[in-house]
């Protein structure tokens, strides 16, 4: 990051004047934390004792045999507290908030995992907490909404625009400019104005810090490739970070939705529908029309359903240090199904995108090579969406009878 917050041509801090001072303070606090070895130690201790880190690296023997190529390893961020990599960032920012002396946190959430993690952190650290979530996502991720509210957070459904992640971000910014003195905005991904992309990456880099040790122990050498799904890009940045200067090939997998030529997807770096733009405080590749108005995006996975992408990934894409692919909704369901049946592991719909691409490539990679799939989160949160996609009869019957039970009582 240069001193204006750019990574090559991407990033920056395009923020309203009212936020200038707050960002100055955030920059100072972040730099201070980064230069203080005790801060990272405190962070590691917290993650070990509260969040189950280091998360395991699992050898997926059955999947490896099934595809007959590379040895497939799965990094188990699903076993992180709250069920996804999101807690890595949130607990780190929580420690920063304590240092800054603020008492209230707000966050946007798409899949609900970041909201969950933020509500959890707020409960633990004693902060007030408000979560903004697009109305469409509230419906897609109802169980997460339930838990956030139970942990004491206020969940505000956002009814503007496309009623998904980008609209939740706008609304969180509106809250922040109103309550800057008391409030920190816990940005959930490696996007937004500087220093968020770098700061979120820093906290998430704990993933690749761990896998680098783990893969050496389990496999004796670094992996040939690493696969991660890319929404905003935080789990990808975290799982790639410590391999950027190695020979490991890094593969980001975006949401192909109904297909990359369908106009119903969220593929920014793979495909040709995105163009450079500035919104939500930063410059990156956005899915937008020729007037610069953001387009509707589509993905079965709420967490990938976003118009922009980390400016750091745009830079790595431009410099060809990361390869980008897309997985369609259909392919995602198939990969998820196979992983459950062969390994007894339930990846989130978001994470299943990474599995799709890994499965396509595994047979072509030598048997003595390893690949790592970053399983960014667990899939049981998606039970409503997945059961719906399966059109599962017994689940439907259960919902219908439970609904009848509720409506007869009311």
């Amino acid at each position: 990051m240069d001193n204006k917050g750019f990574f090559g041509n991407w990033g920056g801090a395009y923020i309203p004047e009212i936020l200038h001072q707050t960002f100055q303070e955030l920059h100072v606090e972040y730099q201070r934390a980064k230069n203080d070895p005790a801060f990272w130690q405190e962070y590691l201790h917290l993650m070990r004792t509260y969040s189950c880190r280091p998360t395991p690296l699992t050898y997926a023997e059955n999947l490896s045999n099934h595809f007959g190529g590379a040895r497939i390893f799965i990094k188990r961020e699903d076993l992180n507290h709250t069920g996804a990599h999101k807690a890595n960032n949130v607990m780190g920012q929580g420690l920063l908030v304590k240092r800054m002396g603020k008492k209230r946190v707000i966050a946007e959430t798409g899949a609900g995992q970041h909201g969950m993690a933020t509500a959890t952190m707020a409960a633990k650290f004693g902060f007030d907490c408000t979560i903004y979530m697009g109305e469409v996502d509230v419906r897609r991720q109802r169980p997460n909404v339930f838990w956030m509210e139970k942990m004491g957070a206020t969940v505000v459904p956002v009814k503007d625009g496309s009623r998904t992640l980008k609209d939740a971000i706008n609304e969180a910014f509106r809250d922040w400019v109103t309550n800057i003195d008391s409030t920190h905005y816990v940005f959930g991904t490696a996007c937004g104005p500087a220093p968020f992309p770098e700061m979120v990456t820093w906290f998430q880099s704990i993933i690749s810090e761990e896998t680098k040790e783990q893969i050496k122990e389990l496999h004796g050498k670094l992996p040939a490739r690493i696969y991660a799904c890319v929404g905003g890009g935080s789990n990808a940045m975290g799982s790639f970070y410590h391999y950027l200067d190695t020979d490991t090939e890094l593969v980001g997998v975006e949401a192909g939705g109904h297909g990359i030529d369908s106009g119903m997807h969220a593929s920014r770096l793979c495909g040709t529908d995105a163009s450079p733009g500035v919104a939500q405080g930063y410059k990156t590749m956005f899915l937008q029309n020729e007037d610069g108005q953001m387009l509707e995006t589509h993905s079965v996975a709420a967490g990938l359903d976003y118009v922009g992408v980390s400016p750091i990934l745009s830079d790595l894409w431009e410099k060809k240090q990361v390869r980008f692919e897309a997985a369609t909704d259909k392919e995602v369901m198939a990969a998820l199904d196979l992983t459950m049946k062969l390994e007894g592991i339930i990846p989130a719909l978001e994470s299943s995108h990474a599995f799709v691409q890994a499965f396509k490539e595994a047979p072509t990679i030598a048997k003595d090579e390893a690949i790592i799939i970053n399983m960014s989160g667990r899939g049981d949160k998606d039970i409503f969406t997945i059961a719906h996609a399966y059109d599962d009869p017994s689940w439907k019957e259960f919902i219908i009878s439970r609904a009848a039970e509720y409506s007869s009582k009311s």
Partner: protein
């Protein structure tokens, strides 16, 4: 004549100037035409015309909805610039464009400035473009003699105000309070102290906006600010009573 000079000349004859705001294409360009006519005929001194953007992060619910509805009507940047040119050619007051940076960036900054100059637009307000991010923007503003209008906020330090003052032209837009557009502001001691800080930090005229809604608010600004900005309030009025309510409303403000 450039924006600052025009405003100073108008201020010679008035206690306080009045700037109003419209969202282009909302509820329609036809309604915009009627609203602007009523504003100008009732003594408005300057009008900021907002080119709608899908992600207006600094705007509150009223203007946000107007942006979305305008875009849903199919409003384009080209239509907005053409409308601006028509207004500037019709009325003898300065017209400004307000929008978010992506609109210029995507249109091409050079092209946007050239077209805005041809349209005789006097200034631009881009709330998400701080001076640090706008090297090219400020160069083009100078070349095209279009005032880049910068914003002071209650959170701005003296040092920051000095930086903004050195980069801005035309006038300084002082945001009355924290938050987004459209909510009522209260003008207590803190506010007066803030306005005094703004006044000390610049030799340009100062405009005060965010939450200015009625005659009482404007009275309170007389002698402290050079221009009052009415934003969301006229949009609310048009929503509730139609464009013809704008004239009497403006007339009742001073």
């Amino acid at each position: 004549m450039q924006l600052e000079q025009i405003l100073r000349q108008r201020k010679e004859k008035k206690d306080i100037l009045l700037m109003t705001h419209i969202v282009l294409g909302y509820p329609s360009f036809e309604a915009n035409r009627e609203i602007v006519r009523q504003m100008v005929e009732n003594g408005v001194d300057c009008i900021e015309m907002q080119i709608p953007f899908s992600e207006p992060m600094a705007d509150g619910p009223v203007i946000l909805k107007a942006n979305q509805d305008s875009l849903a009507n199919g409003t384009t940047v080209a239509q907005c610039i053409a409308f601006g040119a028509e207004m500037a050619a019709t009325y003898d007051i300065p017209f400004l464009f307000m929008t978010y940076y992506n609109i210029l960036f995507k249109h091409g900054e050079d092209r946007f400035f050239t077209e805005a100059k041809e349209a005789n637009i006097k200034g631009l307000i881009i709330p998400d473009l701080p001076p640090e991010m706008g090297e090219n923007f400020f160069r083009l503003a100078k070349e095209n003699e279009i005032a880049p209008i910068l914003i002071f906020a209650p959170t701005s330090t003296q040092e920051r105000m000095a930086t903004l003052d050195s980069m801005g032209q035309g006038f300084i837009y002082c945001v009355a309070r924290r938050g987004v557009t459209g909510k009522k502001s209260s003008f207590g001691d803190d506010f007066n102290e803030y306005l005094a800080r703004c006044r000390n930090a610049t030799r340009m005229p100062i405009a005060v906006g965010f939450g200015i809604q009625d005659k009482e608010d404007i009275e309170a600004l007389k002698g402290r600010a050079d221009m009052a900005v009415i934003g969301s309030q006229t949009i609310r009025l048009v929503d509730e009573q139609g464009p013809e309510a704008v004239g009497p409303f403006i007339q009742g403000l001073r």
